[in-house]
Amino acid sequence: MSLFEVGRLCLKIAGRDAGRKCVIVENVGEGYVVVDGSTRRKKVNIKHLEPLSEMVELKDKAGHEDVKKAFEKLGLKVWDKKSKKVSERPKKVKKVKPKKEVKAKPKKEAAKEEVNKETSLKKEKAEKKPEAKTETKAEKEVEAPMEA
């Protein structure tokens, strides 16, 4: 009988799980063995295992829960699979501020219109606008020579 029988406690020597204890769960043959415990449940080459003196009572092809119970008796932690949770995509939330501005503007416009109605006819509006444009142009002309 080889040392690598079902229920043998082993130390993983190579790879990512090196330095962790595990139990042989199944003998696959050709120097390979299935292992579970504080390592990942994995098919493993015997060369990557160091057999320990302890044995654990386990059935052949025992499941992860059985191994967990056996390991808790020994006081060892078991490596549990952490299945990833799919996080939801963050939804784009439209900013509330612009809406407030949109609401505020019409009030002002409405107020202006009311004032205009009170004071004069719509024709005066048309007159005021070109005046404003001419003023701005005049300002620009004044500024330009200053820069030059």
């Binding site: 130390l11 020597i13 190579a14 790879g15 990512r16 090196a18 330095g19 160091e50 320990l52 003196s53």
Partner: protein, 91 residues
């Protein structure tokens, strides 16, 4: 003549051919030495040889093998060490 600080050999030289056809010397920081095993002094695999500033920006998993003693001992020495420990406990 190069400046005094460039004569000490602290920085490595790089010869750059400029668009004007001149050969100019540029100076760059030397890379750190390769990572070696703490036990057998062999070069470690999986440890990049980059400037400290670059290493600081790298993720931890890119800087050393994800194994016990990863980035300190080579795989063979880790195996021997773990084996010796396991056999020592048994006795």
């Amino acid at each position: 003549m190069p400046r005094g600080m460039f004569k000490s050999g602290r920085l490595r030289k790089i010869f750059v051919r400029t668009p004007g056809g001149k050969n100019v010397v540029h100076y760059r920081q030397r890379k750190p030495s390769k990572a070696i095993c703490g036990n057998c002094k062999k070069q470690l695999a999986g440890v990049p040889r980059e400037l400290p500033a670059k290493m600081a920006n790298m993720p931890k998993t890119a800087k050393r093998p994800e194994r016990k003693y990863g980035g300190v001992l080579c795989s063979a020495c880790t195996r021997n060490l773990l084996q010796e420990k396991a056999r020592g406990e048994a006795q």
